[in-house]
């Protein structure tokens, strides 16, 4: 039957307007950076060292994350055990865990007076040092091993059972016939995604890096602005960072099509119960080690923070309020722009959704700093700019969670809406919004949590008494008040989880069928 596709007609002006806003919020700072570049000198040897370190640590982090993720994912795909669902959920945790909390947790385990070094000391062995390149890579593996594992578990879960039976009936090698081709398809894209994330993880480098051997470009930008007051130098570095991450982002969009990051539950594949006990034990060791590696630092910091709740500093209440305000504003910005872009259809959403991926929060912040610095004291607008940068950074996630639903509903209910005269804003209110409740709440929770935990732009801009929770943590860690930092971390994590949980619950109850 030749069905002509009739889509619900929606208001036309919001999408171009939102696209223009996104473009100017991103391209404006970019132009400001490019404007400054010719007036300053080129790159010094320290700058080139930063470029080299940035690229090398990203490559090393991505490679190690994936090398470790393969056996863990393989074990998770093959073994059925009590608590498997909990393990898969745990592997999703680092995605919304504030980076600075993760780093504080790693310090509690691998730091100078951490568990590992205490044990080594008892055995009379020399201590390990978490500061420096190895610490940066360790933190990146901690943050990305779970992501890599989840993606690969899905790769295994997507193997059709018939293929396994076919391989068995042909007496062929499952690894060579099935697993290797699957890995060959997923790993390049996954590697690029992780490398891109590690290029621009400022908080890790800020705390664990530093010095001539372990300074990333973003850390050098921060130092140029905060300590050398050399905005031109910061602009040059920001452009270099932008060029590298934009190139990688382009490669990601081309290559990483098979990498899906959302939460399908891994099903157990094949019949591996007949495997030897030794093989089963090896698999469980891999899983146990991964769980320990991921859960250990998180639990340790939550416990320590919980016990040390009395150490919360006076500045905590103000920081909490500021963090909530920034997160609320960022969520409002991301959802409003996301809705406006999506009701304009795929074209606008696709265009404006890619832009924020090119610029890391810190590069965007540097550009905004360059603009702001001409007119006002940057410290005055630190919080609004942080909210804007966080909102823009979350926009791609928002678009991905609400876009498909809107596109589907527009077509599915196109003829019905047209025949009943339900069009434009009426259609948004009556047809689209009630059906978007769940993805909107999900996106809102994610945006708020990401913004609550972000330590990037705010570090560039902040003046006195402007700390958000992550920045307060950084200040406390800088003055060796790790108990107080742990207490703030615990509150930050619990607040983020509470926001996600409440919004998720709100989205599920009365959700449209």
């Amino acid at each position: 039957m030749a069905r002509s596709a009739v889509a619900i007609s929606l208001p036309r002006w919001p999408a171009p307007l939102a696209a223009a806003l996104v473009a100017s919020a991103i391209l404006g700072p970019l132009v400001a950076l490019l404007w400054l570049v010719p007036s300053v000198g080129g790159m010094g040897p320290a700058d080139w060292a930063a470029v080299r370190f940035t690229v090398l640590q990203a490559a090393a982090s991505a490679t190690i994350s994936i090398l470790l993720a393969v056996p863990v994912a393989r074990a998770l795909a093959r073994r059925e055990f009590i608590g498997k669902a909990a393990v898969l959920t745990l592997l999703g945790a680092p995605f919304v865990l504030p980076v600075i909390v993760a780093v504080l947790g790693l310090l509690a385990v691998f730091g100078r007076s951490g568990l590992v070094n205490q044990s080594l000391a008892m055995l009379g062995l020399p201590a390990v040092d978490i500061y420096g390149a190895q610490g940066v890579v360790l933190a990146h593996v901690f943050l990305n091993l779970p992501l890599a594992t989840r993606v690969l578990v899905q790769g295994w879960a997507a193997v059709p059972a018939e293929h396994l039976r076919l391989a068995a009936s042909l007496n062929g090698s499952v690894f060579r016939l099935i697993e290797l081709p699957m890995l060959r398809r997923l790993v390049p894209g996954l590697w690029l995604v992780i490398a891109l994330l590690c290029l621009s993880s400022f908080a890790v480098a800020l705390i664990l890096g530093g010095g001539p051997k372990a300074t990333t470009i973003e850390l050098a930008i921060y130092q140029a602005i905060r300590f050398q007051f050399d905005i031109g130098h910061a602009a040059v570095l920001a452009i270099v960072q932008l060029a590298i991450s934009a190139g990688l982002a382009l490669a990601v969009t081309k290559l990483a099509t098979g990498v899906i990051v959302d939460g399908a539950r891994g099903r157990t594949i094949g019949n591996w119960q007949r495997d030897s006990l030794a093989k089963q034990i090896v698999d469980m060791i891999w899983i146990g080690a991964a769980v320990l590696f991921v859960a250990g630092p998180i639990l340790l910091i939550l416990l320590r923070g919980g016990v040390m709740m009395g150490a919360l500093p006076d500045a905590f209440v103000g920081a909490m309020i500021r963090s909530l305000c920034v997160a609320g504003a960022a969520t409002g910005i991301a959802l409003a722009l996301g809705m406006a872009l999506c009701i304009g259809g795929g074209r606008w959403a696709a265009l404006a959704g890619v832009l924020p991926l090119m610029l890391s929060g810190l590069v965007l912040g540097t550009g905004m700093f360059v603009i702001a610095n001409r007119f006002v004291d940057p410290a005055l607008i630190g919080l609004p700019v942080t909210a804007l940068a966080n909102g823009l950074a979350a926009l791609p996630f928002v678009l991905r969670s609400i876009g498909p639903q809107i596109d589907k509903d527009r077509l599915q209910f196109g003829r019905l809406s047209a025949s009943l005269g339900v069009q434009g804003w009426q259609a948004v209110r009556i047809v689209l919004l009630p059906r978007l409740r769940r993805p909107l709440c999900f996106a809102a929770g994610l945006t708020a949590a990401m913004s609550m935990g972000d330590l990037g732009v705010i570090a560039l801009f902040s003046g006195h008494d402007q700390a958000t929770l992550p920045l307060l943590m950084l200040q406390l860690m800088g003055s060796y008040q790790n108990d107080a930092a742990a207490a703030v971390a615990a509150v930050l994590v619990l607040a983020s989880l509470l926001i996600i949980w409440v919004l998720d619950w709100g989205g599920r109850s009365h959700a449209a069928p």
């Binding site: 039957m1 030749a2 069905r3 002509s4 009739v6 599915q412 209910f413 003829r415 019905l416 047209a418 025949s419 009943l420 005269g421 339900v422 069009q423 009426q426 259609a427 009556i430 047809v431 009630p434 059906r435 449209a512 069928p513």
Partner: protein, 230 residues
Amino acid sequence: MLHLDDMAIRQAGFTLTADLTLAAGVTSVIGPSGGGKSTLLGAIGGFVPLERGRITWQGTDLAKRGPADRPVSLLFQDNNLFPHLSVQKNLALAFGPRLRVTAEQADQIAVALDRVGLTGYADRLPGSLSGGQQSRAGLARVLLQDRPIVLLDEPFAALGPAMRAEMLALVAEVLKGRTVLMVTHDPTDLRRIGGDLIVVADGSVSTPAPAQEMLDNPPPALRDYLGQGQ
């Protein structure tokens, strides 16, 4: 009178022409898949633009009017109800794109639900109704819209034979006096509902003729569709 005056539609290399007049009563539309049945209904409903000719109702051209402004109400095979709105709210959309209803409109909705045998179902969500009940709710909204032309694009195709017979009887009863155009692919539907029949095949639409006569003495296009031995 609904008049299709030397009308032609072109869609991606496919052309459909029609020149006919439809009187009040049920006219069945039959023909092979892809022959243009839905396209014909889409043109009358305002979803498919005409390349040539006119569609007029009581002498006025419908060309300038959008789907919601035509004297037409429709039922499709699926997606006749918004699944996130209660039956009451789905029916309220017959009065306009608002969800609030006056006390008088609420009474009208209750009466319409009565007529289709859904008394007391106003607060239910469509998903909690059976397929047949969903069809009845859609039909209730058609009654509330109270428009002279009703287009039914295989709305009962997913129902079992007994349920379909029931719905056809209900349609004949509650839509009496309106100009009803109903797409079907089942010859037994035609015999059951009577009325006129048009055959849509090979890009053309036949002149309406009584269904019983057509079936007893099928023209070539209908014979091809029904197959030998029918």
